[in-house]
Symmetry: C2
Subunit: 488 residues, 2 copies
């Protein structure tokens, strides 16, 4: 199987698509730009969802559900939001089909035209803030800390499985607060939740920062982001958390009586991550043999393969090992398929990124050992069956840590300073990665640099440091470096 | 609060809507027919989802995700399916908005008309079977046991929160098999999973049966159903499981090579339950004081209220009780709000259906007791704090069982035989409930009875018994009774 995937060096884009296909993660559907997430791909997404949902609840959030449709007029209510989201979208204009009077099939019934068109949600600020007006009267009704897991649609012209699809799955948190300070604290809290999830569960190191004006969410006062670095030196925006100020409260007239009985507009945040994280996961850890899944997100953490085939003796030993592994909360699969040879199975589980493989044959049993192979480094060793569960438990932790460290080392190697446009372009072309450079702070300069190099400002780090310098493009004064990269 | 809800006797429909509103379960949205599921309502739906998902996985199913859009032409491919589902639906005709050239707001961009219209999925058999064609070559690829949790849209004219909405949340299982027998076994297995879920978790007794031709799913060979009885004597179809034969495999050309290397069409099932179950839950157990939630689905099982207000002594005692309850896996909330009086809180938690309430005051503490109130019977008693967690654990089980038994008793009292149309109509008008009657087996007779009485055949029980009789309408011979009722 492995030979069927293109190597990263040969063609990074094709390597990615090959893994998505060969590891049974997702495929294109009959509907342009919409993907099918296959069971194995979905099992990893479910692990992500489960952990994120837990972290949202631990920080006081509750789930709810809002309609998929947004009346067209709602999009126009927030001036910047409409420019960002009322462009490429799916528009529902009719509510009925009828038999084609001229023959076969069905056609749209012209008499069933909607009075107002409905947009399939590209994001839900508008419909949610229209609802919050009913929920909020007094400061006692605040804060509202709500999240929803759902599908959204943005009519992307150029799509790519997981990374950019017309329909995708995501969560969108929408919170309402009585003070600006509390809303900003919430925005930062959720950036931190996302960063912790990315680093501790996905084993993906991320930069925590905030966006320049040009890259901000349409309707936000401030957008906080976590930015990851892929193995081809391109950045991937992995999650964003927006401080929306009072923009949506004003657009949808959502006011509250404060403790002094004075009316004020409500303060808002929104924050989201999507199935795009699957793309980040794949591109951070995988190799030319296939997918690599960090143990904490693997739906199967350990696979056991009988060598060359199952028999009573091996089965008995495996059953004991499985019981011990399960007792430690480790998910394990025993592949008893007699039609496939061990070598075929090895390649298959490698392709699917199962973190640990145990091979067990007659000779191993005689010696009281199993062969342990770890997916991340492909190292193999012989380990005593006695105490194997403890060994595997530690190994899973080691793999998780190693994947993070490996990605962090890559990022360290691919983080550079550039002080001139020449340096900047040289690094972009030959090395890629994050480039820390001075910028004069204007939208024009950022756009110009993008035109010239395709690189954008990924973020201004949360912990930026005062440093005098000159903008690489205009030479104007700058007091900090910002982070540029080409991005997905 | 409680006085704000209409009594069941006065107006059953209004009582239902009052509970949905006052217990903060759901509300109508700005989009006709689409609901907002509020956080408390969603917390109960999440409990249902979690348990169902567990049961699906225990029976070997995996989750996946398929596109929300269905090309219009797909609906026409299965002859019966198109009649059932290509009527009232949301049709996407364009993929872009633009600024209104005549002034404010945005309008549909006429140049962005889709070549083929897309339908927002009313159910996903067509897009899924079009995908399964790629997944299935040989008997080795079968069975496919896949489920998806998603939203669907059916443009209902008369909507009612949870019971009938234009958009609703559901799960749809879609399985593919190499033999008819295996597919039928799967169909029945899932009916059984639904029935066990309804009875053991929702505490809702259900009839297990199959549908007459007239009530079958559009495209199914056989539809199995679970039917519940509401407190107003009307039936509610709570879940269906369809044996689809080879209808969709033929429509989408999905064949496999069997073990003898011969090509055959694949056998299919599909099965679903939806947020409609929330309606069934509410209407089965609730009373004139508000919602009643069975303990196994309550997001908060126990609430503790300090009388009249929290103080150090009470807080210390409560903390100990909470630790003990949590150790038993019981979810508990301590309401320390000082601004609300105990009586107000009592009414509030009654309205929300929290199964058990503990009240604890100074005098209670002196005696080493708490006041325990159960929501189902509204009985109160004083119980020693020593060992209270064990008492509450048993009480939650008793409440769960009592709710089921109460609903079962109601159903038993409201199940009748009718041997003539006069009897049939008399029972329908005065008593309601399930009516077991003879029927000549024809679609015409069923339709005529519906016209005359509004009652439909809910199901033919799985365990129907041979019994000679005459059709209540036509007098023609019949060998079994079928179950009629008015239905939601």
């Amino acid at each position: 199987m492995a030979k069927e995937i293109t190597s990263r060096e040969e063609d990074y884009s094709q390597w990615y698509l090959d893994i998505v296909k060969k590891a049974n993660l997702a495929q294109n559907s009959a509907v342009r730009g919409c993907m099918v997430i296959k069971p194995y791909g979905f099992s990893i997404w479910e692990k992500m969802q489960g952990q994120l949902d837990k972290m949202f609840k631990e920080t006081g959030h509750q789930n709810a559900y809002f309609p998929i449709f947004i009346p067209k007029s709602f999009l126009s209510k927030e001036a910047q939001h409409v420019d960002g989201f009322a462009k490429e979208c799916a528009v529902v204009t009719h509510h009925r089909l009828m038999n084609d009077p001229n023959g076969e099939g069905v056609v749209v019934d012209p008499s069933a035209k909607l009075e107002e068109e409905l947009i399939v949600r590209p994001t839900s600020e508008t419909i949610i803030w229209n609802t919050y007006r009913d929920w909020i009267n007094s400061y006692r009704d605040l804060p509202i800390l709500v999240n929803q897991w759902c599908n959204v649609v943005r009519w992307e012209m150029r799509t790519r499985l997981f990374l950019r699809t017309a329909e995708f799955l995501w969560q969108e948190g929408h919170t309402a607060h009585s003070t600006q300070e509390e809303a900003i604290t919430e925005t930062k809290l959720m950036q931190d939740v996302y960063a912790r999830f990315a680093e501790e569960y996905m084993a993906v190191p991320v930069l925590r920062g905030f966006k320049s004006e040009n890259e901000r969410f349409a309707g936000a006062v401030d957008t906080f982001t976590i930015e990851a670095l892929m193995q081809d030196g391109k950045a991937l925006q992995a999650g964003t958390s927006h401080f929306l100020g009072q923009n949506f409260a004003k657009a949808f007239d959502v006011k509250f009586l404060n403790e002094n009985q004075k009316e004020e507009y409500v303060w808002a945040t929104s924050w989201g991550v999507s199935t795009r994280l699957m793309g980040a996961l794949i591109m951070t850890h995988s190799d030319d043999e296939g997918l690599v899944v960090p143990p904490k997100l693997a739906s199967t953490q350990v696979v056991i393969i009988p060598i060359p085939k199952p028999n009573d003796e091996i089965n008995a030993a495996v059953e004991k090992i499985m019981t011990e592994l399960k007792a430690k909360g480790i998910t394990v699969k025993y592949d008893q398929d007699k039609k496939k040879r061990p070598g075929f199975k090895f390649a298959e589980y490698e392709m699917h990124g199962i973190p640990v493989r145990l091979g067990i044959g007659k000779r191993d049993l005689e010696k009281g050992v199993v062969e342990v192979a770890r997916r991340d480094t492909k190292e193999k060793s012989s380990q005593p069956i006695e105490g194997i569960a403890g060994y595997v438990e530690q190994l899973l932790e080691d793999i998780q840590n190693n994947l993070f460290q490996r990605a962090l080392d890559y990022r360290t190697e691919h983080s550079s300073n550039a002080d001139t446009m020449e340096e900047f372009q040289e690094i972009l072309e030959n090395k890629g990665g994050f480039i820390y450079a001075h910028w004069d702070g204007t939208v024009e300069t950022e756009k110009k640099i993008k035109e010239l190099t395709k690189a954008t400002i990924r973020c201004i780090p949360n912990d930026w440091k005062e440093e005098e310098g000159k903008c690489i493009l205009t030479g104007k004064p700058s007091n900090r470096r910002v982070v540029f990269a080409k991005a997905y």
